[in-house]
Symmetry: C2
Subunit: 194 residues, 2 copies
DNA sequence: TATGAGTGAGACAGGTCTGTATCATATAGG
DNA sequence: CCTATATGATACAGACCTGTCTCACTCATA
């Protein structure tokens, strides 16, 4: 009764194709027809796997968020100190900003295009942002008291979000340099030197 | 040969109505029909004043950017020290985040929906962001050497952009508290105590 | 009063959007 | 082989999109 062996593959393929188009052209600007043409898939195939375009968008965001989380976990291995982990995260973003197909943060774009807090797409985007912020806070909690950790985590989160906006505007290098410098100062004055 | 006395008023009225709808529902999700209905204006009136929907969007963004700049200039009067000016800007954003019709930053949303750097809407949005960053830098340049001023200005800019994203997600209070705290630390460690 | 610019209302064209329905085909497992 | 499932291709419905066009009307000014 499960799907055919390659049915799950088709599903992933649709998600990946939609991801690429949403990232490049935006959500509203990307039509279903464009997605199925690029994915070389029949329309009914897409609608059998996903309930609607919004449903597909949520799936794409969740899939992307999971990949983001995996990469983050790999970066911030247990071997490093909190400061090293934060530095690694900034380095990672620097590489991301420099990648040829960088078009800003898909989750920020989702918040922009689906600004209604009750919308499922908005919720999917906030989940990812909340996860990142929580992850930063967990890292900092290893060497800072809880209230300090929260404040610094929020500040680092804002620096990262702002850096991503700046990078989308073509100033990724300046953004990451200043963000790193600011993060160092914040961690230093918060007492998290290790 | 100039327009009738109230023609310019109609034009402003269309811009203000479009602004309200774009802010609430987004650019692609807001149709021309919706704008002219809400503005109680004929379609041809709108198309006589603006070349296209994109043209209207650019006009809306420029109008909003001008208003933003005016408010910023009023806030950061010459009487205050750089630190006081920065504090006033954060206070201002706090009030903005708390306002009942806050829906995030329209310029961020424009960058998200028109991600192509060559697009006129993208350019209009970047103009505003560049202006804000430059304004921060000018303020800091009063009490910091140029290279420090630039780094700190970019950091403050990113904090503000990130705080706006957080506020859109419903955490404006936490954002502004952490941003203020971070800004104080950055200004302190940069030596701009006045 | 006469003129002409600005306007409101609405039809219209041509295209695109999401989502559904239909039918032939391919294929894996019993 | 035979049946059930997944699929490709395509037509279709109904709505919405941007932008153009026409026509009657208002109203300030000459």
């Amino acid at each position: 009764m499960p799907l055919r062996p390659d049915a799950a593959e088709k599903r992933k393929h649709i998600v990946r194709t939609a991801y690429r188009l949403f990232k490049r052209d935006g959500f509203h600007a990307t039509g279903i027809d464009k997605i199925i043409t690029e994915a070389e898939v029949a329309k009914m195939t897409m609608y059998r796997h996903f309930p609607s375009k919004d449903g597909l968008i949520v799936e794409v965001l969740d899939w992307r968020a999971q990949r983001f989380k995996r990469q983050l976990n790999r970066l911030a291995g247990d071997a490093m100190t909190p400061s090293e982990k934060i530095a690694a995260i900034f380095d990672w973003h620097e590489r991301w900003f420099d990648s040829p197909d960088f078009h800003g943060c898909l989750f920020q774009h989702a918040l922009a295009e689906f600004g209604e807090p009750a919308h499922s797409v908005f919720e999917a985007a906030t989940r990812q942002k909340r996860d990142l912020q929580q992850r930063l806070q967990d890292i900092l909690a290893q060497s800072l008291p809880d209230d300090h950790a929260e404040h610094v985590a929020v500040a680092l989160f804002m620096l990262i979000e702002g850096a991503t906006v700046l990078a989308h505007m073509g100033h990724g290098k300046a953004a990451i340099v200043s963000a790193r410098s600011a993060a160092t100062k914040l961690l230093g004055s918060a007492g998290a030197l290790h």
